[in-house]
């Protein structure tokens, strides 16, 4: 229907036979955009779901989509993925930016919504010159930060991670509340299909950063489409550089081009210089929007090594269709390849019933941070982590959360006030795309020492209150804690401070065999002392093994 006026124009210039051929060509090229859109939606939805699904069920099926993200693959030294992405770009240009990168697709989505308002809004773009100084400058800074190990800066700029943060901080709570509502109803009909999950703010700083990122991205996308990708994004800059040499490119046929500016006004990458019939391929993200807008059939996505003469005779000869066919076939093949890759004081009881108030636990002042089994060491972890928050959103025990330190800002760390690193769970190591947490099995995990427990006598209730406890020892999965009689000075509830007399019951205190402790935090989490526990875990700089 939209094409109608085009054909009216065509009819004045071409014969019937030509019109049929051009029509066919037009449909084929229009197919390109449809295919791009379909793939983009699939990837975008899947990656978004990865960050939303706190049950960890989807990750077995879709986890690879996070692993083919560019920066995580680079940090994971995942040669296969890097080679694949470079080849993909060398062949077809920045398809990555339009299909695989969730932040890219998100911007397209925002831009599309804005364009729905009117034709004027849809055609709101103009050509601008490449901001080379800015984008290469950012790339240099980014590389320097990467080399220097300033993870927070790297994390700030990486598009995949930025998107992950937005979803896990801003969208995931909505998803979880929705789930909790379903769980509420499920409970009432005695169904176990849904269960309630805790919705809590893991880090205010990260939340704010995510919110600011979202606002910036949305504003940029609303106004100018892909500004972020072509001026700030280091992945865009690298892929843009490569795509200069790509075999397939979007081209303008100067002979046919009437310099009407339609394509440039539809180009969200602002990379079409219609006056000179040229396209800046370092900024073109292969969205194929321009092809459909051209009423003269002057724009096509074609193979590099076909001379200009080819284009001129194409209108006369019949093989343009076959070229398009071929490119389509290749595109589909690429698509196929893509898919294939891939302390309370005891209250005296007088009446029955009621629940004692439970004070919240506070985070102990750990000298060394704790990072998950599979991270190898703090250094390795923070060098590789892109702060995408995938592990944070999938941690079922609410152990992982973004850290606050300036150099590791937003990169996760562990703490045990809400749960502990349960022995059967390896979710974070399963999902990490960046090699910050290498895959470990549950068996391997049970022998990896990520930290060691430390006892704080002044908080331990057998010492302070003279009661029997031993909850830490009872729950230690490696049997690293034993209860031994306390021979030191007591400080009982009554306030006496004396050596254990005969009249007092013997109290037992925990002793930790550091050699067997893996730092899982069961003891810390289940210690009854509040707000600061009597036993807590200090991280190990380099993880050990029992």
């Amino acid at each position: 229907m939209k094409i109608q006026p085009d054909f009216l124009i065509l009819e004045h210039h071409y014969s019937d036979e030509q019109i049929i051929r051009i029509k066919r060509e037009r449909t084929l090229t229009n197919m390109l955009k449809k295919i791009r859109t379909v793939f983009a939606i699939i990837f975008f939805a899947a990656i978004t779901l990865l960050f939303l699904d706190f049950t960890g069920t989807l990750h077995a099926w879709l986890g690879w989509m996070a692993k083919i993200q560019f920066l995580p693959a680079v940090l994971a030294l995942n040669a296969g993925v890097i080679i694949f992405l470079v080849l993909l770009t060398l062949l077809f240009g920045r398809i990555y930016c339009s299909v695989i990168c969730p932040l890219g697709v998100f911007q397209d989505l925002v831009s599309w919504i804005n364009g729905r308002r009117s034709r004027k809004a849809r055609m709101r773009f103009t050509y601008s010159r490449a901001k080379n100084l800015l984008r290469y400058g950012m790339l240099v800074l980014f590389t320097a930060a990467l080399a220097a190990g300033i993870g927070s800066f790297v994390a700030l700029l990486d598009p995949y991670s930025a998107y992950g943060r937005i979803v896990s901080n801003l969208f995931a709570p909505l998803w979880q509340w929705g789930n909790n509502l379903l769980a509420f109803f499920a409970e009432r009909i005695d169904s176990y299909a849904f269960y309630k999950t805790d919705v809590w703010l893991r880090s205010l700083t990260t939340f704010i950063i995510a919110a600011v990122t979202l606002v910036v991205i949305v504003v940029l996308a609303l106004r100018n489409g892909r500004t972020w990708c072509n001026t700030i994004c280091p992945v865009g800059t690298v892929l843009g550089f490569i795509s200069r040499f790509s075999l397939f490119k979007v081209r303008i046929d100067a002979e046919k081009c009437k310099s009407c500016s339609l394509c440039a006004r539809a180009c969200k990458a602002s990379c079409i210089d219609y006056k000179n019939h040229s396209i800046d391929h370092s900024r073109c993200v292969d969205c194929f929007d321009c092809i459909g807008t051209c009423t003269h059939g002057a724009i096509s996505w074609t193979f590099r090594f076909r001379g200009k003469s080819d284009n001129t005779i194409r209108t006369d000869e019949g093989h343009a269709g076959t070229t398009a066919d071929k490119s389509r076939r290749r595109f589909l093949a690429a698509g196929a390849a893509l898919t294939a890759a891939a302390t309370i004081k005891a209250q005296e009881k007088k009446v029955d019933g009621g629940l004692a108030v439970i004070q919240d636990k506070e985070i102990p002042d750990r000298r060394t941070r704790i990072v998950p089994p599979g991270a190898m060491s703090l250094k390795n972890f923070y060098r590789h982590c892109t702060a995408c928050q995938l592990c944070v959103s999938v941690c079922p025990n609410h152990v992982l959360r973004p850290s606050a330190g300036l150099d590791t800002l937003m990169q996760p760390e562990m703490s045990y006030e809400r749960g502990y690193c349960r022995p059967e769970c390896t979710k974070c190591s399963d999902v990490c795309p960046a090699g910050a947490i290498l895959p470990v099995s549950a068996e391997e995990k049970s022998s990896i020492q990520i930290g060691h427990a430390v006892w704080i006598k002044s908080n331990c209730i057998p010492v302070t209150d003279g009661v029997k406890c031993g909850n830490c020892a009872r729950h230690c999965p490696t049997g690293a804690i034993q209860m031994v009689p306390f021979r030191g000075r007591h400080r009982y509830r009554g306030g006496h401070s004396e050596d254990a007399g005969n009249d007092r019951p013997e109290v037992f205190i925990p002793v930790i065999n550091t050699e067997r402790c893996i730092g899982c935090g069961a003891c810390e989490n289940l210690c009854p002392a509040r707000p600061f526990t009597a036993i807590y875990v200090e991280g190990n700089m380099v993880h050990g093994e029992i």
């Binding site: 176990y192 309370i344 007088k350 009446v351 004692a356 439970i358 209730i461 029997k468």
Partner: protein, 463 residues
């Protein structure tokens, strides 16, 4: 009949707070029966069975209202969580009970976190004083209330809370808990029991008795002094499971058969508590439901337990802690009038008890005497969740069990639903403050640790 129904319906509706309850009440008492358009079950009026107290001649309804499980604004029993008592619903329940012939109300200064007496006083204060009997207790949970002064304060406070100038039935609360030492410390050595005898003579206490759990030595001792104390009544735990199996369930408990026998020998009227074991005789495994329903398809599972308790002639009243209108209606139905068990039904229930003994149910009656746990654990919540899963067949024996996956999910998700994570069994440090308060003598830390170990195995998939 018709007009009587209308009146009760109107007065009932007037005082009704909760709309849901109103609907249930109207449909149950207003509609006629037998047309097949709805359940023929009606709540009869004016047919309540009464028993006569030999000493005072009180005509006491066989159904007594236990004010221990009052509803809270949260919609559950007031002892769950820290919600306030739902006074409007309490008023509605009490009005309904009185209009259907119930006239015995049993409370204590300790119930519902100490607010039961006040709620009872408010609800009953709206009725003529001679239309009901009040029972309350001198409770003994904390040694800080054991002094003579503190005891008298508790005693006088009961009058104030209940808005009365005499108490119909006064009990020493849960004697037997803590053995002879506790009896001496709490009631004998400080002269408190003598004081109560004095009060009885003065007429401020019309009947004096005690409630018993635990050490049988205390029970036997107090009965041996019957000639002196002249007990007007004694409150005991009696139901078809405890009749012959109380000792088998827990060695420190005594079979109800013995307790009742001792009382009837001395012609002391018995007040029955835990006729339903806190709902455990209503929420039973499926095959028991089938067995009971096969014999009486139109009677509730709970009705068997109430008929059992009421069938003994020496029983004055059977207490039931009715949180919901449906409980009250069902019990009124059972007792209006009471059809006593015949011999075959009696032995049928004894066989049922034998069957039930095969289940590993934890004998928790949800009385919440163990609460509050100083470490914040919801003890009855954990134990009842375990029992529920047991009844529903969701305690798999091993990971090879047929329904393992389903049962595991039901147990773990249901656990988080029933009990918040921070109040679950893994936080039990084993301080054992709870166990001495348990009328059923459950070794609570042991059970909690057992459940915790089971949960751990489920979570790790190593069952």
């Amino acid at each position: 009949m018709k007009s009587e129904n209308n009146i009760s319906r109107r007065s009932f509706f007037k005082t009704m707070g909760a709309a849901g309850l109103a609907a249930a009440g109207i449909s149950a008492c207003g509609k006629g029966s037998g047309d097949g358009h709805s359940s023929p079950e009606t709540v009869p009026q004016g047919q309540m069975t009464y028993r006569t107290n030999p000493t005072t001649g009180d005509r006491v309804s066989i159904l007594g209202f236990g004010m221990m499980r009052l509803p809270s604004t949260g919609g559950k029993s007031a002892r769950e969580g820290n919600g306030d008592i739902d006074q409007e619903t309490v008023n509605a329940l009490v009005d309904y009970a009185i209009s259907h012939g119930v006239n015995y109300f049993d409370t204590s200064p300790a119930y519902c976190q100490g607010f039961s007496e006040r709620a009872t006083g408010i609800a009953l204060g709206r009725h003529p004083r001679n239309s009901y009997f009040i029972a309350t207790k001198l409770s003994n949970f904390s040694p800080s209330t054991w002094s003579r002064e503190a005891s008298l304060e508790m005693y006088h406070n009961s009058f104030k809370e209940l808005q009365v100038d005499y108490i119909d039935y006064m009990l020493l609360h849960a004697i037997g808990q803590g053995g002879m030492d506790a009896l001496h410390g709490r009631y004998l050595d400080n002269g408190v029991l003598e004081f109560l005898l004095e009060e009885r003579r003065a007429g401020r206490i019309r009947n004096l008795g005690f409630s018993y759990h635990g050490d049988i030595e205390v029970f036997d001792y107090l009965l041996s002094k019957h000639d002196y104390y002249k007990w007007d009544f004694v409150q005991i735990q009696l139901n078809y499971l405890d009749w012959k199996y109380a000792k088998a369930i827990n060695d420190r408990n005594t079979n109800a058969e013995y307790l009742y026998g001792e009382l009837s020998k001395r012609k002391i009227p018995a007040v029955i508590m835990e006729p339903l074991l806190g709902g455990r005789l209503s929420n039973v495994p499926d095959n028991i439901v089938a067995r009971l329903k096969e014999r009486e398809p139109e009677q509730s599972v709970a009705s068997w337990a109430f008929r059992f308790a009421g069938s003994f002639p020496g029983i004055l009243t059977v207490l039931s802690g009715m949180t919901r209108m449906e409980h009250l209606q069902d019990n009124i139905r059972t007792y209006s009038p009471l059809h006593t068990l015949d011999d075959s039904e009696f032995s049928f229930l004894q066989d049922t008890a034998t069957l039930m003994m095969q289940y590993d149910t934890i004998p928790c009656n949800d009385c919440k005497y163990c609460m509050p746990c100083p470490w914040g654990i919801d003890i009855p919540g954990v134990l009842l969740h375990y029992n529920k899963c047991l009844n529903e067949g969701n305690i798999p024996a091993s990971s090879q069990s047929e329904n393992y996956r389903k049962a595991r999910r039901a147990f773990l998700i249901g656990y988080d639903r029933s009990v918040p994570k921070l109040r679950q069994a893994n936080h039990c440090i084993g301080c054992n403050q709870c166990s001495p308060h348990c009328p059923q003598g459950i070794n609570i830390p042991k059970e909690l640790h057992k459940i915790d170990a089971f949960v751990e195995k489920l979570k790790r998939d190593t069952l």
